[in-house]
């Protein structure tokens, strides 16, 4: 298309410079803060960070909740996406609309709704006590369970949408063919559907996992300071202690976790492919 490479590069230069100056340079400055102590480059701030029991607890809790939310949303996501793609076109459109709808509501409003629903006098506890499943209201608010529920509701639509597009791109006769050849539903899922939709799973999984790691409002409102996650810890470090070095370390950890999750998911997908 271009007469020479130089011309193409010249055209790309303004955008590249813009991105470098307004994005890469500030990010570099911010992240480098965590590698500096007393004017020298060092890893000591990271060692100190992980030396604290609180920081370790928060790190593992964030990783754990992120992984569980991703896994559960994958399971629910496949079931939902499959039932939606098998619908006739009009009904499918409506169902996708319903899936997208929560994304149009502010996460603050959605999360506050959970405070009412999960409260002592809320719908969930009234039902549990009413049915005799629990003797007295169970405390959900400000627990990991509440954060898990909030995050799942927040990010499940992203997983469903990724899987719907993956399932729609799957050859229409693959599943009937496998069934005809005698595969049961479990085999159909693991040997046909999963390999053919793995890209959707990788995209959905990355979005959900990264989203869960970096969500702020949901853990802040439903977990509070009793269930600190990396993101709420970061906020606390900056706003309470004005400690940008720790904040930079947490930001770096979050980025590394997100990239690793994406690489891991891709690796899992290709490993299955080779078999």
């Amino acid at each position: 298309m271009f007469q020479n490479r130089m011309e193409a590069l010249a055209l790309a230069l303004p955008a590249a410079l813009f991105a470098a100056f307004v994005f890469l340079v500030p990010v570099f400055i911010l992240l480098s803060e965590g590698f500096r102590a007393e004017g020298a480059w060092t890893l000591a701030p990271y060692v100190d960070f992980f030396d604290s029991e609180l920081n370790r607890t928060v790190f593992w809790r964030t990783l754990k909740l992120g992984a569980i939310v991703t896994a559960v949303s994958a399971v629910i996501g496949y079931a939902t996406a499959w039932s939606i793609v098998t619908l006739p076109p009009t009904a499918r459109g409506r169902m996708i609309g319903l899936v997208v709808m929560p994304l149009m509501i502010s996460p603050v409003a959605r999360t506050y709704a959970w405070i009412v629903i999960l409260g002592r006098t809320g719908f969930v506890n009234q039902t549990l006590v009413g049915l005799g499943i629990a003797d007295s209201p169970i405390r959900f608010l400000f627990t990991e369970t509440a954060v898990f529920i909030g995050l799942l509701q927040l990010f499940l639509p992203l997983m469903i949408l990724s899987l719907i597009s993956a399932l729609e791109n799957m050859p229409k006769d693959a599943v009937p063919a496998a069934r005809v050849l005698g595969a049961n539903w479990l085999q159909v899922f693991f040997k046909v559907i999963l390999p053919l939709t793995k890209e959707g799973l990788v995209i959905g999984g990355t979005l959900v996992f990264t989203g869960s790691l970096t969500a702020y409002i949901t853990p802040a409102i439903l977990g509070g300071s009793k269930v600190l996650m990396l993101e709420t810890l970061l906020y606390q470090r900056v706003t309470v202690a004005n400690d940008f070095a720790s904040a930079s370390i947490i930001a770096m950890i979050l980025m590394v976790m997100s990239f690793s999750a994406n690489l891991l998911l891709k690796r899992l997908a290709t490993a299955r492919n080779k078999r």
């Binding site: 609180l54 405070i115 409260g119 002592r120 509070g224 009793k226 900056v238 706003t239 004005n242």
Partner: protein, 340 residues
């Protein structure tokens, strides 16, 4: 021709006149709360009086303090309000300057504790509040700070996080109740840690507590009196505890930035805000309890405020230097014992 010339001269004069009025500008930095009321009672009348523009910046204390520090050599903010310990931190950082109290005509009307709470006239108190326990009188009785941990309140009580302005004073009073009020707050933090599973949450915003109380999630919580208005309107049997150890609280002060570009306006504004008229209006709107001792309000208003010489005298406030010098250790200890 002459007509056009005259018209354009008039237009020009009007324009420069407007520009001159706009040049007179005061920049203040305040808490984000009750801004509608402040605009009506303080900002708009002051703008009308001084013929100047008032630029209001809001945010939490740490953000605002960080911003003041960042612009230390070329301050854009002329005057700010903050807690006594933040004002002391600002004074130590060299951000603020001594206030010449002789330029404040309303200074002598202030309660004694508001006159120089930071020391060295680095701040003038404009409001204070009591901190005690708001509780459901139909469910529990609270006569001591230790009563927060009674059996009936297991799983039904909220406590302020150590990072809030209510946290350290509440811990200090809890320390008094259990017989150890050392500035390290070690005993009360340990007490909270022992009971942490029975505490619903360590709140960071007073609005959050009001919601939990309304939802009957909790039955008691230490709160600042400034938030009491919301509780008394809940339709629940709410009471304000008068624990035998006493009530604690906090104070907010006005500070003047070093190198403020509009110092004269800043003094005018501070004096305006401290005047009996404005302090009375702020009290009547239940925005801020008056630091001006001449303010008189009706009983039903006083009910919702930290009001009266007697109340003010009995507040057990943590000195700002104690807060500032121990804050980091409190946070570390809290994170270690309670935060896990």
């Amino acid at each position: 021709m002459l007509k056009t010339f005259l018209a354009s001269t008039v237009a020009l004069a009007a324009l420069t006149g407007a520009a001159a009025a706009q040049d007179k500008k005061l920049v203040i930095s305040v808490y984000g709360f009750a801004q509608d009321e402040f605009k009506e009672i303080v900002y708009d009348p002051f703008e009308a009086q001084c013929g100047c523009d008032l630029v209001v910046e809001t945010g939490n204390s740490v953000e605002r303090l960080a911003k003041l520090e960042a612009r230390k050599d070329d301050p854009e903010i002329d005057m700010a309000v903050m807690s006594t310990h933040d004002a002391l931190a600002a004074a130590r950082a060299g951000i603020t300057q001594k206030i010449d109290v002789s330029r404040l005509s309303n200074y002598d009307k202030l309660y004694d504790i508001a006159k120089d709470p930071v020391g060295d006239n680095m701040g003038v108190g404009y409001t204070f509040y009591a901190t005690s326990i708001a509780y459901r009188a139909d469910e529990v009785t609270i006569e001591s700070w230790e009563d927060l941990f009674q059996d009936k309140l297991k799983g039904r009580v909220a406590f302020p996080n150590v990072t809030t302005n209510q946290g350290p004073p509440a811990l200090y009073m809890l320390g008094q109740a259990i017989g150890d009020d050392a500035a390290s707050l070690e005993a009360p933090i340990n007490k909270v840690a022992e009971n942490k599973d029975d505490i619903v949450t360590f709140y960071v915003r007073s609005s959050q507590v009001a919601q939990l109380m309304q939802q009957e999630e909790i039955l008691a919580a230490p709160i600042g009196r400034f938030a009491w208005g919301a509780y008394s309107k809940m339709g629940l049997d709410m009471a304000w505890a008068e624990p035998k150890e006493g009530q604690t609280g906090g104070m907010n002060v006005m500070i003047l930035t070093k190198g403020a570009k509009n110092e004269d306006l800043a003094y005018d504004f501070m004096d305006f805000w401290l005047s009996t008229e404005i302090q009375t209006k702020l009290a009547e709107a239940l925005v801020d309890s008056p630091a001006n001792a001449e303010v008189e309000v009706a009983d039903e208003i006083a009910e919702n405020l930290t009001y009266g010489a007697e109340t003010v005298k009995n507040l057990k406030l943590l000195p700002p230097d104690v807060i500032l010098d121990n804050r980091d250790q409190w946070l570390d200890l809290w994170n270690e014992k309670v935060g896990q």
